[in-house]
């Protein structure tokens, strides 16, 4: 009897399928619930607080649910915090400026990163490995310290001003630290590897015979680049650009250390609204608004990412 059951393939198959299904759901469930608890639910809480009223209390915001006089549960939702974002033009200016800074920095990264990625692909195998390590290395070393290194270069008494004065090009130090220029420089410097690596991965897979065919047919290098190379590397351009643009929009450290008081960026506004003004509801509304602004590029990135790993 027993051996009958064991020998029956349908039973075994069913059993193994059941086991497999259970075992799989455990593997999925652990990271799934972790992310649910520490990634998704926190956003719900931020959204909830963004609808509350700011109070001088602990915690410094009102509860959405209150018990009315007759014991009825009342829900109080305020959209004032969002209206406030539109009333005070500080927020809108900060948003627009962040998008502008992130966009220009992304374009600059692309202009510098594309030829670099191309050059790495075309180098011989040994050199290519060394170059790749050189691009990845700054990514592993401290981001904060690399931003700090520019403070020493751009300061009024810094390396660059000393050099320019020493060469006799200028008489007085130019103010470079704590300017918008320094913020652009810092973002391009910090995010350049993020642009180069996806571009490299894309250019490496190019079908070079197409380029040779174009050249054989008499196309000039620039024409070949514009009609063959560029269209084929659009996925890499999009991935690299999003990897730079999205985090740069919400950047806090670079505008704070290199831009000083002269840079108005939304990440900085959010940070000071929360930590200096202790206005949690407004800070939450700023965070939700920033999230809404970035949700489209993020979905685009996610689509690219899942395509990349499935291909």
């Amino acid at each position: 009897m027993l051996s009958d059951i064991q020998n029956s393939p349908s039973f075994l198959q069913r059993f193994s399928r059941k086991l497999q299904a259970k075992w799989k759901s455990v593997v999925v469930a652990i990271p799934f619930f972790w992310l649910l608890l520490f990634f998704l639910i926190p956003f719900v809480i931020v959204f909830k607080i963004s609808l509350a009223e700011s109070l001088i209390a602990s915690p410094p915001f009102s509860s959405l649910l209150t018990w009315g006089e007759e014991g009825a549960l009342q829900i109080r939702i305020l959209t004032e915090n969002y209206a406030y974002l539109f009333e005070d033009d500080l927020y809108i200016r900060a948003y627009l400026n962040s998008v502008k800074v992130a966009f220009i920095s992304t374009v600059l990264c692309l202009l510098i990163g594309y030829p670099m990625a191309y050059g790495i692909v075309r180098a011989n195998p040994t050199r290519r490995k060394i170059l790749l390590i050189l691009i990845i290395l700054p990514f592993w070393t401290s981001f904060l310290l690399r931003v700090y290194s520019w403070m020493g270069i751009l300061a009024d008494q810094g390396t660059l001003n000393n050099l320019l004065i020493g060469l006799g090009l200028i008489d007085e130090p130019i103010r470079m630290l704590y300017t918008q220029f320094a913020v652009y420089l810092g973002i391009v410097y910090s995010y350049l590897p993020f642009m180069i690596l996806p571009l490299y991965a894309n250019i490496e897979k190019l079908d070079w015979s197409l380029l040779e065919a174009a050249a054989d047919l008499g196309a000039k290098p620039i024409a070949t680049f514009l009609t063959v190379t560029l269209p084929m590397t659009i996925p890499g351009i999009i991935a690299g650009s999003l990897l730079v643009f999205i985090p740069a929009t919400g950047e806090y450290v670079i505008p704070d250390l290199l831009g000083g008081g002269n840079s108005l960026m939304i990440g900085k506004v959010l940070y000071s609204e929360f930590n200096n003004n202790h206005d949690w509801p407004v800070a939450s509304a700023v965070a939700i608004a920033l999230l809404i602004l970035l949700v489209l590029p993020m979905m685009l990135y996610q689509r690219y990412q899942s395509k990349q790993t499935q291909a």
């Binding site: 999925v28 926190p42 050059g119 170059l131």
Partner: protein
């Protein structure tokens, strides 16, 4: 494929690399400056290094950061590997779209948003269930695991898609249960990817300032928080010394890892050539 690049490409490559490395070299150079004013050369000296090691604050921050980084890297590798396996090997399952969104979003999410949302989450939790009663090591570690596991998952996903499935298929055909296939075949093949993920999670944790400064509590200063509080007010030669030590350690680690991988590759190439040579010999006999 030819290996010639135009002068334009080569000069852009040189310019880009100079742009990436000159600031780092200057940072290291000025750490050996005797003068207190960073960009003013006052002769060679190692006094900032001695000063650095005399400060108990720095040691405390280093130890806290290392502790967080170790725990974070281990848990992030475990969770990230599970997530990567689920994404690549499990086909469709309920909630896959949400799952893949939650896995890739932390990679690009601005740090201020992650930081503020986790802090508000911890505060709400401690109001309701009394945990976490204080913020510091635990809260920072949880925050770091959450974004590090996304990076690990990406590495594991790319390894799994690049991996030959035929060995797993063979084991399955020979009657190995799925769990055994995972333990005996898939995970050993994934080990290099998991190591890479562990190292990346470790350095990401050591590097994080914004998220940690949101979710930390009084008295728990990680190394980036300490560095930040010092450089906020201007240039500090002792921070240059600290930076030099960090950059040197990381660079040596990365170069060592690269060298080991390189040697392995070379060995594999050699093995393959030897096998081919043997085959030719056998055919000739």
């Amino acid at each position: 494929m030819n290996h010639k690049s135009s002068k334009y490409i080569i000069s852009m490559l040189c310019f880009g690399l100079a742009f990436l490395y000159i600031p780092i070299f200057l940072l290291i150079f000025y750490s050996f400056n005797h003068s207190k004013i960073v960009p003013l050369w006052g002769g060679f000296s190692t006094r900032w290094y001695t000063k650095l090691f005399e400060s108990p604050e720095v040691w405390e921050a280093v130890m806290l950061s290392l502790k967080i980084a170790l725990v974070n890297a281990t848990f992030a590798t475990l969770l990230g590997t599970l997530a990567g396996l689920a994404m690549v090997r499990f086909g469709r399952f309920k909630g896959r779209t949400l799952f893949s969104g939650m896995i890739s979003a932390p990679l690009v999410m601005p740090e201020v948003i992650t930081g503020i949302s986790l802090l508000l989450m911890f505060i709400t939790l401690s109001d309701f269930i009394g945990w976490p009663s204080e913020r510091g090591f635990t809260t920072i570690t949880i925050a770091h695991i959450t974004f590090s596991m996304a990076y690990v998952a990406v590495i594991i996903q790319s390894r799994l898609t690049g991996m030959n499935e035929s060995i797993e298929d063979a084991a399955r055909d020979l009657g190995a249960k799925p769990f055994r296939v995972l333990m005996d075949i898939t995970l050993p093949l994934l080990a290099p990817g998991m190591l890479a993920g562990w190292l990346l999670a470790f350095t990401l944790s050591l590097d994080d300032l914004v998220i940690a400064s949101f979710v930390t509590g009084p008295g728990s200063n990680t190394l980036p928080i300490l560095i930040y509080s010092r450089i906020k007010l201007g240039l500090r030669p002792d921070i240059n010394a600290l930076a030099t030590i960090i950059i040197m350690t990381v660079s040596l680690g990365v170069m060592l890892a690269a060298w080991i991988m390189w040697r392995q590759e070379k060995q594999q190439m050699k093995d393959r050539q030897m096998i081919q040579a043997d085959e030719i010999k056998m055919n000739n006999h």
